[in-house]
Symmetry: C2
Subunit: 333 residues, 2 copies
């Protein structure tokens, strides 16, 4: 029910995913009447793979997380997360209110023992593949230990999703020299240097879009990560608008646009943010994927597909086991 | 002498500026022999407006600020800043080591009374004009009071340089709601709300490239500001490379590039980072402008021109007077 466009977007995206992936089963959670109205004439198109779970409430996009938690016990996001907790679903995908989704997920699913704070991870495009980044906004203040825990969790996710053994892990900083950064970052660097991770050192903001040749996973606190992510979104939007304006200037430039159309289209596809939609909440005992609120059908499909991949790769179990093993090592040390 | 290319870049840029601006007088500070070798055959091209100040030392780009301060008392940057302190120059422009330049400027020029920390301010392009942003990396940890002081200084700079009365001032945060952000940002918001500034509230990372219609000045701490700036640089570089690759793919796409050349050129000029080169150190009793280390002739010219504008608009005096007046108000309150 969530996001700027609600089920008008999430339902067509769900049907597309069911069409494309014969293994996929989906439970649409929300107002049954609304959902049924938006489903195709033939409700049995996917008889064994599509079901509806009614929820009487809906969390508003601007509602405070604490109010949503207290007053919306039958909201679509709460019911969906309950399904994950109870083993009826492997993951929850939502385009709803991020703060409320995180608070609800944390309350219902609980944290993985040994992890203090949940974190939000997503990918950014680059010339060479992409880079995974966390935290993107769940935590405004982070200690070195928090950053270290984010690295452990992100590392397991990247290993599982990308199928690589030793992801290159970097710590976001304002310079690559040892002397740079604040106390938390410097202390986190020490923890990472002494860990089994493939820690490559400090990376700067321009590495976020540098891709897997340089770094696979970038760790930062949620304030910096969120600002960086939105700065990149803003820059891309500004550049796209300026490019569009240049090609729309007059008849001659519009002719050039027509002739360059296939090139411009392939360019746009390479950096289409919709193909990078979907952020995973890590640190919880269950999988929750947050889609951008403004997602369209293509973007929401990407978020559902991300959930499928992480379920198939068993990301949450792998993170839990890794955290448990590190805890055991620390206790015996 | 500084920057990745040294006087090979800074001298041609200086000569271009002298050519373009009959009011301008420049003192080239550095190794006299090197400078003379790079000056044109006719050394009297600008007899009254160009002079050389010899300096025997040069600060390396990777040298630690404290070592530069201690061991390089006759470095080109130290001598240039001395000229500002002694009233022989109105501003110092350098492409050298940022940390050393800041440490030297702070040591030699001293702080404006009432300002605790210097900050670095620069502009970012947008579809509508540009946005001024500080701090871009001088301070990794900032209190609310520091952020407030940055806002006061930035506000005077924007007023003077843009010729507007009430710049729209925003505080960089991870959401626009009151509940968002860390303690420093929330406390800084209170200080700004109770100030005489035209404070518009929190802005997110995507506002950095939003331009003057939304916000004229964005205030943040140096860690976040530096990461955001470099994230934008990285995103722009990635997008530019992908666009270039798309047009270079094969004979057909290269033909499209040829036909679209004037459009692509005008697009590139609109967002050319060289036209935004130059960051001002604020909070000091003298004007120091830092150019990007990798600046070419055009970029270094932009930095010199920025110095000219700020000198003509008397930015440092205006900031000092404003800070003094606010201090007086606080003491009488």
């Amino acid at each position: 029910m969530g996001g700027d466009h609600g089920p008008e977007i999430t339902i067509p995206a769900s049907l597309d995913c069911l069409q494309n992936n014969p293994d996929l089963r989906l439970i649409l959670v929300g107002d049954e009447a609304v959902i049924k109205r938006l489903l195709p004439q033939d409700p049995l198109a996917f008889p064994d793979r599509l079901s509806i779970q009614h929820a009487t409430q809906c969390v508003g996009m601007d509602e405070s997380p604490s109010k949503a938690l207290k007053n919306k016990k039958d909201s679509s996001m709460r019911v969906a997360i309950n399904l994950v907790r109870d083993g009826h679903a492997d993951a929850c995908v939502s385009a709803g209110n991020t703060g409320a989704l995180m608070a609800t997920a944390r309350f219902v699913l609980k944290m993985i023992p040994g992890i203090d704070r949940p974190a939000i991870i997503s990918t950014l495009p680059s010339i060479y593949g992409h880079t995974h980044v966390l935290d993107l906004g769940a935590n405004v203040d982070c200690t070195a230990e928090h950053l270290f825990q984010f690295a452990i969790m992100g590392n397991e996710l990247v290993k599982a999703v990308e199928g690589i053994d030793n992801p290159k892990v970097g710590l976001l900083n304002i310079g690559e020299e040892d002397t740079k950064g604040n106390e938390q970052v410097k202390a986190a660097a020490k923890l990472l240097e002494n860990s089994s991770l493939n820690y490559i050192g400090y990376v700067e903001g321009n590495s976020l879009n540098a891709g897997h040749i340089k770094v696979d996973l970038i760790v930062t606190d949620g304030f910096v990560g969120n600002v960086a992510l939105k700065s990149i979104e803003g820059a891309a939007k500004m550049i796209g608008t300026v490019l569009k304006e240049a090609f729309n200037k007059n008849l001659l430039t519009r002719l050039a646009a027509f002739l360059a159309y296939p090139v411009l289209k392939s360019f746009k596809q390479r950096i289409d943010p919709r193909l990078y939609n979907g952020a995973s909440f890590l640190g919880l005992r269950g999988l929750v994927i947050k889609s951008h609120g403004g997602a369209d059908v293509l973007a929401f499909k990407t978020a559902i597909e991300l959930a499928e991949i992480e379920v198939k790769k068993d990301v949450i179990r792998k993170i839990s086991e890794q955290v448990e093993s590190i805890l055991a090592q620390r206790q015996s040390a």
